[in-house]
Symmetry: C3
Subunit: 325 residues, 3 copies
């Protein structure tokens, strides 16, 4: 990687965040999707393709002495098992918590920093899902080992989800020039937020944020896109964009959060003929009413492959973090 | 295995249950105990005996690249750890959930099918305990990897429990000609139900269902036994059969479920002299008042060996499923 | 080890506790800290130093066929993960429960003895945290494999915590002649209790129990110290001893348990100048208000190294138990 690229990588060392890159330009923690540069993304995706072959051959034992700890303060079995499967397919070992909040239940005042200092002495990499925005960043500031943010609060980020989302698109077509509809409850959509940051890295991308006005994407993301010259539109009517975009990225809307009809934002088989013949239909899952099961049979529905790609991308990320520390 | 045998094996492929066997006659999913034929049982039991030797030698590393996921929507630490120990003794790896209902807590409408499609991409075999009757079958219908039913609802089945129950008897005596008392709360006894299906596979078996009339075995099992020409009796009085049978299979009765005296259905040391000198006393465990600890010292009490046999039978089953897929 | 030493090791065999040592003098279960003799402690600490080197080299695969079960009836993720990391660094395998009380939730009357008999057939060593005082001892009385007490109730013991506490002191200075202030809610402090038993093994030790009178150390420990000729004082005023002692062992005080001011028993940076220049500041963690984060930067604050030492001591203990059974 070149020097100017490395400068964009957030480097965090024990005790403080460093604005400048580490001398050796290595990726240390994964906290926010915007810390990934295009060259780093390409290196990661290259490795992920290699991991597809590793898994097809039955996995590796290369990392059989390494330990990954999954600290899930908020339960998310699916994401947790995706990381744990990735570590297993690399031959590694797991320290696991389904409900790490049992930590703090013992004594209420306990700080995540103390936990991380201790668990960092027991493991080689920590995957954390924290209930507070910024929880993963606080963890990284004190951790002796790499920290991966597996989602921090509803309005925070979920960078590895965005990485696998982007990898799924990348496997199908060039990322420059892409038009994407991101649909759902976007103000509290950490996967949508993290994906927007990543899409902004590419040329001539166009993003339609499709949501009831009261649930639209928050200004911090929109400012970021403005600064980076990314074309976007806020669109309350899904029907106006569904036929134009290369990627339909559907996310959930909880009925209790909107006064309007959710039906306007749901994808079902009736909508399929209106979409481009080579559209990619993605969803981070789990889903409820916003994505009907009748869509599953359509060859353009890629969400289960997307979930599978999470395995390869997380394997790739773990090798990046483990070999370099 | 011969062709006519294979026809009895329930074969399930992605998307639908197939009545006819797979071409290659391989066991794919384990959902109901009645899908096991006598030759398949004998193959399984043969392997289980081999597994006793493998464990005595300290286990194997043969499956060190394979991953088993345990999805327990209802907690059952004992059954879960039995499966996980089996996978470990084969050298394999575990993705584990103590309370997989955390999955669906996230979004209420989520379907088990979506979860299975995803976890099936992360693992080589899935062990599921679902809170709904038929949950395991629904899982098998969409799973890309073998599914094992580890208990589906109180009135459903628990086929691997029945397999280890039968294996425990098989290790002691011939299965043809056996007389068995199955005692307890039989209408909601999935282990009793699964065992009845298996016993029906053998010649000249006689089953006494011993239970308060209001908690007796349900008609679906009785019809199955009628169809297969199995001799059975419904018996409210334990004392009338306890001295006659080769096997006493005790299960729980919850006090709140019967108006009568539970004492009539409890086994304690006072009853031991009335039983056959070579009777086998079994219980799927956990137990409460229906099986007194004073029975534990009797050499005819086999329930702890029975639990241990669960390890060998589950190891055998895992090798059958993993080598053939 | 010599014969007279072995006599002090509590030996427990299936079904009953034996007062006399096993013929071969081997350590079988770890239930109470007082079962450790000085020579056994020295053997353990020697091994622990070896484990520091094993971990620095990236761990071992020596125990890759062995299984450790962690049965935590009360959740304690930190202690559980410390044991699990220790087993992983030895190459071993884990059967894990975050909330083993799910066992007993199934049927209320279930006894820990049944669970242990079963899990002992699935594993090579059991680590148990039980909610009842004596729970671990009851487990050891029936277990076919070694049992380690990872904390039994608030007023019970936590022997491995005391072992790592003592190891942390041992790494810094001689244990004979030590003066130690043990501060906090001592009547319900199982780590303080277990440590007091261990300190009593050494010569010319002086212990100050610093606590509000209503939360002072219970008479059973004080009698034990009297019997073993250990000098101790009950001290309500931390300031009177803080400048004299070689070791400050701080533990929690829950605000709701005392009517007095907790501030009197809290350690913060203002107190640091009053302490000896080479004092060792320890805390079993987790902490709340009783140990301010401003203390963390002081080189005499050893509590994170103490937590790290838990890994080495538990690895050492596991090798002692696993190789000898």
């Amino acid at each position: 990687m070149e020097e100017h690229v490395l400068a964009a990588v957030v480097q965090i060392r024990s005790g403080r965040i460093e604005a400048r890159p580490k001398r050796d330009g290595k990726l240390r923690h994964v906290i926010e999707s915007q810390q990934f540069t295009v060259p780093l993304l390409m290196e990661l995706f290259d490795r992920a393709r290699g991991m597809e072959r590793v898994v097809a051959r039955g996995g590796s034992l290369e990392y059989q002495n390494r330990i990954m700890a999954t600290l899930f303060y908020a339960p998310s079995t699916r994401t947790r098992l995706s990381f744990e499967a990735a570590m297993h397919r690399l031959g590694g070992r797991i320290l696991s918590t389904e409900h790490a909040q049992a930590f703090s239940s013992e004594i209420d005042g306990e700080q995540v920093e103390d936990t991380i200092r201790i668990i960092g002495g027991y493991s080689d990499v920590i995957v954390i899902r924290h209930y507070q925005e910024g929880g993963a960043k606080r963890a990284a500031q004190v951790s002796p080992v790499p920290v991966i943010n597996a989602g921090d609060s509803e309005g925070g980020q979920h960078p590895t989800q965005a990485l696998l989302d982007l990898y799924t698109i990348y496997r199908e077509r060039p990322l420059d020039g892409l038009s994407v509809a991101i649909i759902g409850e976007l103000d509290k959509g950490r996967t949508a937020r993290s994906l927007a940051y990543l899409l902004a890295k590419f040329e001539r991308v166009k993003i339609f944020f499709v949501s009831p006005p009261e649930l639209q994407m928050k200004p911090d993301i929109l400012s970021y896109l403005d600064e980076h010259g990314v074309h976007y539109e806020l669109e309350p009517d899904m029907n106006r964009v569904i036929g134009e975009v290369d990627v339909v990225y559907q996310t959930r809307i909880r009925p209790e959060r909107t006064s309007g009809s959710l039906q306007q934002y749901a994808i079902n088989s009736a909508l399929l003929p209106k979409m481009k013949q080579d559209v990619l239909i993605l969803h981070p899952l789990p889903r409820t009413v916003e994505l009907d099961q009748s869509v599953d049979q359509d060859p353009r529905a890629l969400y289960f492959r997307q979930a599978q790609n999470g395995l390869y991308v997380r394997m790739a990320l773990l090798t990046l973090l483990l070999e370099k520390n």
